[in-house]
């Protein structure tokens, strides 16, 4: 019998929910670990939890199974990290948040508002030549939202990484 290294599984995106002690430098420790071990961070969201002694950090990583297991284990070794969970997409509610400034003209104004309503996006600000929209949703929804506005002229996009919570 041949004992080979397991074939790498396809590269996928994984979402890690990391509970860390809220100490200075903890984000640097995490980011440093990713960079020196050559793991890819696609997005990262960090904030205090309901208990101010802890932070919750959500990281979207791309890699195969093997890499994700390594990320999990290496992260778990950091002293300030309390828990690491690899969230299965299907069992989690995943949300991203986007702020988008689009070009506005008198002619297309109505159309822009109509499209925002379809997505149930909020209009935060309107200027004579631009407007700022806000949307929360999963990555696919936000992607198609942005795509829809592209022909009208997108001036600026601010997008958070994914936040996720187990159902």
């Amino acid at each position: 019998m041949e004992y080979t290294n397991a074939n790498p599984s396809p590269v996928k995106e994984y979402i890690l929910s990391v509970l860390a002690r809220n100490r200075s430098g903890v984000l640097l420790r995490i980011a440093g670990l990713f960079s020196r071990r050559c793991y890819n961070i696609l997005s990262i969201v960090a904030a205090q939890t309901e208990n101010t002694k802890f932070s919750r950090i959500l990281i979207v990583v791309s890699g195969d199974d093997r890499i994700i297991r390594q990320v999990d284990k290496q992260l778990s070794k950091l002293i300030d990290i309390v828990q690491v969970d690899v969230l299965p997409w299907e069992d989690a509610v995943v949300r991203e948040h986007v702020l988008m400034k689009v070009k506005r003209t008198v002619q297309n104004s109505e159309k822009l508002v109509e499209m925002a309503n379809v997505f149930r996006a909020k209009i935060l600000n309107v200027e004579p030549d631009s407007m700022i929209l806000e949307l929360t949703g999963d990555a696919a929804t936000i992607n198609s939202f942005i795509e829809l506005y592209n022909p009208y002229g997108v001036l600026k996009i601010l997008r958070t990484g994914a936040m996720a919570m187990l159902k």
Partner: protein, 556 residues
């Protein structure tokens, strides 16, 4: 009682049973050094010539004694000079606490004189690090630092302390050292699976790494391989973790392993790895390593499973405890045929060295003579290069903590500082640093420390006036183009040693070997031996890059 931060540091060191520290004074640690003056009856401070030497000495002290090594440096350049030493300890999982001074709190972040962000710099090379911003946190941080350094897979922890914190006062309440973190133990099912594999094996191979030494598993290992009736190979980090006079011992495995170990891995039907991380220097080509048989890996660090190679059975926990439990479950096995073939290979492929001329001083003879004269009981430290491999190959190590070498980081210049630390940890033992002339050049300043404290260690420089290991690679893969590896005209090491106040001896010909070594071993203070060897002796066997560990080059 109200104490200053500096006094609290002293009290916390005493809580941990620390009686020796290595370091170098400077502006940001003036208060700490003032406290060291006050506590000099309880804590001995060894001042090295350079902070890197202090870090290596603390490391050598830790490896030789099993205790946590402590080093102290000032802010800025003092702290950065520790970095190579900390990284060395990190790669080899050596428990160490490094204390650095920093500028006053209100000067942090302002590019102040001798300010450096040492916690940022050392993040990738410590298990954890701290900067203390309130004297009230100081004692607990120091206690945690020792707890982290010693728990699980051991390693260095750095505590950075701004100068004013060492002057601030607060109430000091003594405390016992914190208990080590609890480590998980494999579930019963894993032991059942292990027993199945062990009982099914007719040709088992037991391979050990540094974890055997750091967990104190040598005795349990001995029982285990007797019960299993298996041959044993050790990594560089496990030299002495298994008695090398035991007929089961096959020598090292990996890039400069023995042909016996290579043949055994080719033919075994089960590979049991204890306390080891499958470094690339052992695996050589991971895709061609023991692919025909299952692997059991015992290790305390779960991140080492399936990192460099996939294994079939993972047992996470302390090597000693796991081996002891396996010993209690395992029935005595017998593999006479297998052990006979191991013995035959050992006979057929002994490690041996040939010179170009008959009267060449051969490192093999130097080290074998040293081994005999010290009754195989000296503590040998090394630098990095050919001499390091020769020391591992030709000195006969019989017990743990006898061979101290920078395996993971491969730090040239490690050995002299480490030897000073080891000699201070073990005053009753003979300590010899086997160095090459290239490595010795890097940190030869530490001869000043050996002389100042009259540390009776021997610095044995195998001097070939070339960077021998790099030269060997240049011969093999770069068409004999010796780019920057020729060190002639070389330093006169005997004169250098004498300038430091260190006795110097020279081995220039074969007949000198035994009398000079004897003379050095009779000295009560530091001695340097300049041992002149040919520049074209190669380290063999050798597995070239990309090749399988099963096919070493035996001659070149």
């Amino acid at each position: 009682m109200q104490l200053t931060g500096a006094q609290i540091i002293m009290e916390c060191l005493l809580e941990q049973g620390v009686d020796t520290v290595f370091g170098y004074p400077g502006g940001a640690v003036l208060n700490i050094y003032d406290a060291l003056y006050e506590y000099k009856d309880k804590i001995r401070h060894i001042r090295t010539a350079h902070e890197q030497g202090a870090a290596h000495a603390a490391d050598g002290y830790a490896r030789a004694s099993g205790k946590t090594g402590v080093c102290i440096a000032t802010s800025g350049p003092g702290a950065t000079n520790l970095v190579t030493g900390i990284a060395t300890a990190y790669m080899d999982s050596v428990p160490m606490v490094a204390i650095t001074g920093n500028v006053n709190l209100n000067l942090l972040g302002l590019d102040s004189f001798q300010e450096v962000d040492i916690t940022g710099i050392t993040m990738p090379i410590t298990k954890h690090n701290y900067i203390v911003k309130d004297v009230h946190d100081l004692a607990d941080i120091l206690r945690e630092a020792f707890q982290i350094a010693q728990s699980g897979r051991k390693g260095p922890v750095l505590v950075d302390i701004p100068k004013d914190i060492t002057a601030h006062t607060c109430e000091y309440v003594p405390a016992e050292p914190k208990p080590l973190f609890e480590e998980p133990f494999p579930i019963e099912e894993r032991f059942e699976q292990a027993l199945q594999l062990l009982n099914a094996s007719e040709k088992p191979f037991v391979y050990c790494g540094g974890g055997v030494i750091s967990s104190g598993a040598a005795d349990a290992l001995n029982t285990f391989v007797d019960k299993l009736d298996a041959p044993v190979s050790c990594s560089l980090m496990c030299q002495g973790g298994f008695d090398q006079e035991n007929p089961r011992y096959m020598g090292m495995l990996g890039m400069h392993g023995t042909n016996t170990a290579a043949l055994a891995i080719k033919n075994c039907d089960l590979f049991v790895a204890v306390g080891t991380r499958f470094s690339d220097r052992v695996l050589c080509n991971a895709g061609l390593f023991a692919r025909h048989c299952p692997i059991i890996q015992i290790d305390i660090d779960t991140a080492e499973f399936n990192k460099n190679i996939d294994v079939q059975l993972k047992m996470k926990g302390d090597a000693k405890e796991i081996l002891e439990k396996l010993n209690s479950l395992l029935e005595k096995r017998e593999h006479k045929e297998w052990m006979d073939s191991i013995a035959a290979w050992k006979k057929e492929y002994p490690l041996q060295q040939k010179g170009e001329k008959e009267d060449d001083v051969l490192p093999q003879e130097v080290l074998e003579t040293l081994s005999r004269l010290t009754e195989n009981s000296a503590v040998i430290t090394t630098d990095v290069g050919q001499h390091q491999m020769w020391a591992a190959q030709f000195y006969t190590f019989r017990s743990p903590r006898q061979f101290l070498s920078s395996g993971g980081l491969g730090t040239m210049g490690y050995g002299l500082g480490a030897a000073i630390g080891a000699q201070i940890a073990c005053p009753e033992k003979r300590v010899i640093n086997v160095a090459g002339d290239g490595s010795f050049h890097m940190n030869c300043t530490e001869l000043a420390t050996a002389a100042a404290y009259n540390v009776p260690m021997i610095e044995l420089v195998l001097n070939n006036s070339v960077l021998g290991m790099v030269r060997q690679w240049q011969k093999l893969f770069y068409g004999w183009r010796f780019s920057q590896t020729d060190l002639d005209p070389n330093t006169d090491f005997c004169k250098l040693a004498e300038a430091f106040g260190v006795k110097a001896l020279r081995i220039a010909k074969k007949e000198d070997i035994e009398p000079v070594l004897k003379e050095a071993l009779n000295e009560k203070g530091p001695v340097l031996i300049d041992c002149l060897i040919s520049r074209d002796i190669n380290v063999l066997p050798m597995v070239p890059a990309g090749a399988s560990v099963e096919d070493p080059i035996l001659e070149m």
